[in-house]
Amino acid sequence: MKFAVTVCVLGTIFVLACEREQRDLQFPSEDTRRVPMIPVTDFHAGGSPPPPPVVKSPFEDNAYAMSEGKRLYSWYNCVGCHAHGGGGIGPALMDSTWIYGGRPEQIYASIVQGRPNGMPSFGQRLDDADRWRLVAYVQSMSGHVSSDAAPGRDDAMQTTVPESRRAQQPILFTGSQP
């Protein structure tokens, strides 16, 4: 009996872990340079809110994509302005303040289109999979992914709390530079 329970529990854990590290090397590489209209805020004037756009992250809670995103974050020099989440020249990414929205599709749009006051447009510069990997990682910086998928350590010396142990920050729209 005890043995059967152990096998069941271990088996369940084993199966649950299946998709955590799914490595989709053949990411569909369609031309996605045009981004659908994505609202950068939840505020809207009158009537019922518009339907949410149909853009969905292909890498939600994918540990491999997040760790790749973490690598790309320094490769593509996001670090240069946003530092390791604390911000500097650019706004912080590990807090709850989002000027242009903190949902995955909004982060995606900010990366692709660029934003005023210095954020360049990376639409022409990154392929679609890399953008979404960056989105997945940026989400993990403020605890918006499940903690078993977020990166647990840095490759270099650890200077901050690992992404996997960060508390989820609320998403506050400020709509302007704070």
Binding site: Q26, S29, R125, D127
Partner: protein, 310 residues
Amino acid sequence: MNMQSMLAPAGLQAAAIERLWWIFLIVTSLVFVAVIVALVAAIVRRNRDGGPSDRAAFRGVAAAVIATAVTLIGLITVDAFTARKLASLETDDRMVVNITGRQWWWDIEYQHPLPSMRVRTANELRLPVGRVVQINLQSADVIHSFWVPALHGKRDVIPGHANEIWLKADTPGRYRGQCAEFCGLQHAHMALTVIVEPQDKFAEWIAAQRQLGPSDASEQAARGRQIVERGPCSTCHTVRGTDAGGRVGPDLTHVSARQTIAAGTLPTSRENLRKWIDNPQHVKPGVRMPALGLSRDDIDAVVAYLGGTQ
């Protein structure tokens, strides 16, 4: 021709390592045979007339211990002389090359006091024959190991730790090197081609490498250059003399002059470049370069620009 064997040395140090290897092989083989013979003799002669006397047993054991000690000291002495030989090259009159191990390719930079005279290339190390070369080894990610069996032993490439290896190649030729420390998915496709050539040919080659990027004379090549500069290529790659200045992928300025692409995975040809750009993940699954989704026309234009005349 494409030699990757420490038994075919092309340099002083590899020759010393090869000699050491043969000495060890012969001595240890003799020891092995002697031990087996003694063992068989002991089994065959067991219990004959009540075994050896204490005195004879003592003599036998003493002889074995002395033989072992002598052999060991002999091998250690030979080893020490080999190590001295390996370290004998260090001199001020040397050429300095920085090599950075990356997943999964070798980033090579020929040093020069003038920054504009430095040459950055990838996966193909050209060396002048008879010249002492100091190679500084660094890693950008995980532990790799630099190993060109025809020239020297292995030297680990460790992140955050500066390592160096000194080489002198005495025989012109083409030698294969390989990452010798498991470093991830495409470790097996992390090869290094070493081409040893006469001094004048090397000087010619490095002068050509110092030239700026490929010509964009034809209309197609001009469009290719535009795609490389403004498209996703420049995020990671450098083409000297253009706006493309990414530092995380191989320098593509003279990619068509190299014999292989993707760290020895494919021989350089227009067809292979096309295949590679179209879907790197198909050629070398897991490689850091993503499939970019460029159209057939765009790929042809990029290949017309970077691919040279092959």
